[in-house]
Symmetry: C2
Subunit: 191 residues, 2 copies
DNA sequence: GGTTTTTGATTGACTCGTCAATCAATAAAA
DNA sequence: TTTTATTGATTGACGAGTCAATCAAAAACC
């Protein structure tokens, strides 16, 4: 049976299963056994590859952020001009991907985890800094020195609106969310 | 021993202990035994009064929201004029109380819980609606029909900035946070 | 006033379940 | 035969919820 080179396959399967499981449960209160079963292996094997539960979670979070980062980068290469860049970043944050229930659950629990886990906190900081610097890069040509402060506000607004949408149980609309942030952006520019 | 009328005292003690325990752990992963011990009683008694773990948590959340609501109301009676009312609401959200680690933990976990628990979701909606209607009430004299949309934006910005502060490990500054929201508010008014 | 009954307060002990982590054993490549 | 893959079985710990029993105040009764 042992086809060699199983490790990366197993790891990927576990990461995917973890995100799905956390999404179903809505919390990090999920057992390794369940995750392993969903990924089609024994819990012992999960431990063998990841060492422990925490590391499985972290890998899952890392994966979520990687996907998000890729999405933003993808939107950026299509963007035209400074204003276009900012708009691309905003829209990427409210893509359908990010409103899938498992992704929402991942983010929410990630926030909770970041308060107590150094690793999670570090990961989160990376995301925040990247978002901020992306925004500043687009905003500077539009408003010069004010770019830093405005970027902070826009970033917070993105998080805030995302949070509200995530917590609402109505059908979410990414375009409405984007529109709100863009409206605020226009106020900042037009001043 | 049975002094009558212990129930409200015990309940209050359990609520307090729950908030403290969740604050320490940073998550809802705390045992009833620990909570009960901190509140100075047996776990059996905690079950006797509350029925189950979930109900203990909900009571704790309800209490946190009650305190927050009282703080906002207190700030509002001191406020002068529409603009003053809006400013009071904003500042109340960033008071020192709300940046205590246990309160932060309560909010973050509350968000997580609201995704799966109907009771928690209902509670959260009450808070959100109250915040929104308070903001609209202050904003309407300043901008008429636009009040609704602007209130939504300001509310999201409050949440977003709170979230960022909560997740930062630097010393938080409520006044800086307020200043950022007020800056955005001025942009909205001055348009 | 003294006695009995009721009732709220309280807990230790127990049940039943779960779960993370470990380990020894098996199987198949290389 | 050495390494990699894989698992069943096991262990040790912990936790939620239940229950029967105890204790003492208070209310009802004589």
């Amino acid at each position: 049976m042992p086809k060699l080179g199983m490790e990366p396959i197993r790891r990927a399967a576990l990461v995917k299963a973890t995100i799905a499981e956390v999404g179903d449960a809505g919390s990090l209160d999920v057992s390794v056994s369940k995750i392993a079963k969903r990924a089609g292996m024994s819990s012992a094997l999960a431990h063998h590859y990841f060492g422990g539960k925490d590391q499985i979670f972290l890998a899952a979070m890392r994966h979520t952020l990687t996907v998000y980062g890729a999405e933003v980068r993808g939107a950026l290469v299509m963007a035209d001009g400074p204003r276009g860049r900012v708009e691309a970043i905003i829209r990427a944050g409210f893509s359908n991907t990010n409103f899938r229930t498992d992704v929402i659950a991942a983010w929410l629990n990630f926030y909770v985890m970041a308060r107590t886990s150094d690793d999670a906190h570090r990961l989160l900081r990376i995301y925040q800094r990247r978002l901020h610097s992306n925004l500043v890069h687009g905003l500077r040509p539009l408003m010069g020195d004010r770019a830093g402060a405005v970027a902070a506000r826009i970033a917070a607004l993105i998080d805030g609106i995302y949070l509200r949408q995530a917590l609402s149980r109505d059908a979410v609309s990414g375009s409405d969310a984007s529109a709100q942030v863009l409206a605020a952006l226009d106020k900042e520019i037009g001043q």
